[in-house]
Symmetry: C2
Subunit: 290 residues, 2 copies
Amino acid sequence: MSGQEDKIESINKNPAAKNIIGVFDSGLGGLTILKYFLKNLSGYNYIYLGDNARLPYGEKSPETIYNYTREAVAFLFSAGCNLIIIACNTASAQALRRLQQEYLPSAYPHRKILGVIRPLVEAIAKNPKIKAVGVIGTKATINSNAYKSELEKLRPELRIEQQSAPLIVPLIEEGWAHKPETKMILKKYLRPLKTKSIDALILGCTHYSFLYKEIRAIMGRRIPVPQAGEIIALSLADYLVRHGELGLTTVATPTYKFYTTDDIRLFKELGEKFLGREIKNLERVKISEL
Amino acid sequence: MSGQEDKIESINKNPAAKNIIGVFDSGLGGLTILKYFLKNLSGYNYIYLGDNARLPYGEKSPETIYNYTREAVAFLFSAGCNLIIIACNTASAQALRRLQQEYLPSAYPHRKILGVIRPLVEAIAKNPKIKAVGVIGTKATINSNAYKSELEKLRPELRIEQQSAPLIVPLIEEGWAHKPETKMILKKYLRPLKTKSIDALILGCTHYSFLYKEIRAIMGRRIPVPQAGEIIALSLADYLVRHGELGLTTVATPTYKFYTTDDIRLFKELGEKFLGREIKNLERVKISEL
């Protein structure tokens, strides 16, 4: 344990940050978030890391999710990132707070970690018409109560209805997003939320955005379903403006670099669909021994 | 790489085998095989290892599956196993042959590794009425062509029809084995095999035995579907008789020990359903740094 901490320690003191924004996900889902960053904040350097060899995180224990996320974060900082966005809801829910406490700004002024839960929660909380919110996510995200507790901090009177939906990720990764079986399973997950008359639905997993239309069709057009990618990109833009001390600036020829812990071909194949553009600068990496 | 090999080397020369049979699986599926061992060969000592922290293996790359399986095997040998059964079809398909070459009997007389594919293949091959065989499994198992090439070795004239069925494992782990959605998805996977008029169906993944009745109902009672657990237990019994040199013997009070790489509670909860009995002697273990 202390050996691991020593290593993280030395990584953090070691190479100077290189003006790069890191984006981490357990697999490919975070590419749907990076897509919005590249659309709205294309002038920055990015490194994306997908831990495909160990995905999915959604059904694993809090301790394992924390350990894996810690290794990912250590890797991205050692690769020169000034700021890391944990684009995976499960990792944000189960590991972000502990990691933020390990990388305190006082000790690591150029090592900042953000998650994807807070921006969505803020977007919901500032709409006074919303009195009841539904949340769907992986088992680990729902069990963590991360959305629930963040929402309650900002709006204690909100009614929050949660539902885990573990089959959605495998269905999307099988390429079955638009098959009738997927619609049936989605209905099964969403029906309990619908009967509880919620005023908005949070998609607490990046994969679910692939079923955006289907989800809206089931829930009814009256129920707003915030687009996570858009909201998180707006929130990042705002954050960058307020945190000049991180040293992140746009550059004339930004580089977008990709790492995966599993096979490159597998990553590229589905990843380009998720990102909506070609993935060029891609390398396989081992992060478990950092 | 060579550091890793050195470590495996020293582990193998190191502790004497302790008269234990090791059973490895990526998660809980192998418990359905161990169940038959404990029924038919209950007098031996067993250690079961589930790599739950990194499951599922079925959609990962061959290299990653090999690396993870190698770590598992090194752990089980270091824990005193004389013989290891790789109860996971994906790991058997993608890693067994390479590992058998690394642990050659000449160098390691008390370090033997077996898989689950060969026994099933032999059971099919010895039935002359079978002219065409269907195989369902994970993507990695099907892509490896392990069943196909083993079947062709014994019966070159066999027609073999393969189908990957990646959603079945998540459906079972969600506890949805008997829901109508699962039946629909199963039909979608099996229909192409049915139309190709096969004479037998191999369930190339331990999880699928939970849908045994449903699969037989879809395929029709005419199509034999061998029970993997039973066949593998018979094959192990036969193997133990023929390989006295391994030093495996029954003992008066056998111990059954369980290890998981993830949370103990998660393992126990579903694991007891898979094994059909209480899981007592259970410990969490880290195998990735061996």
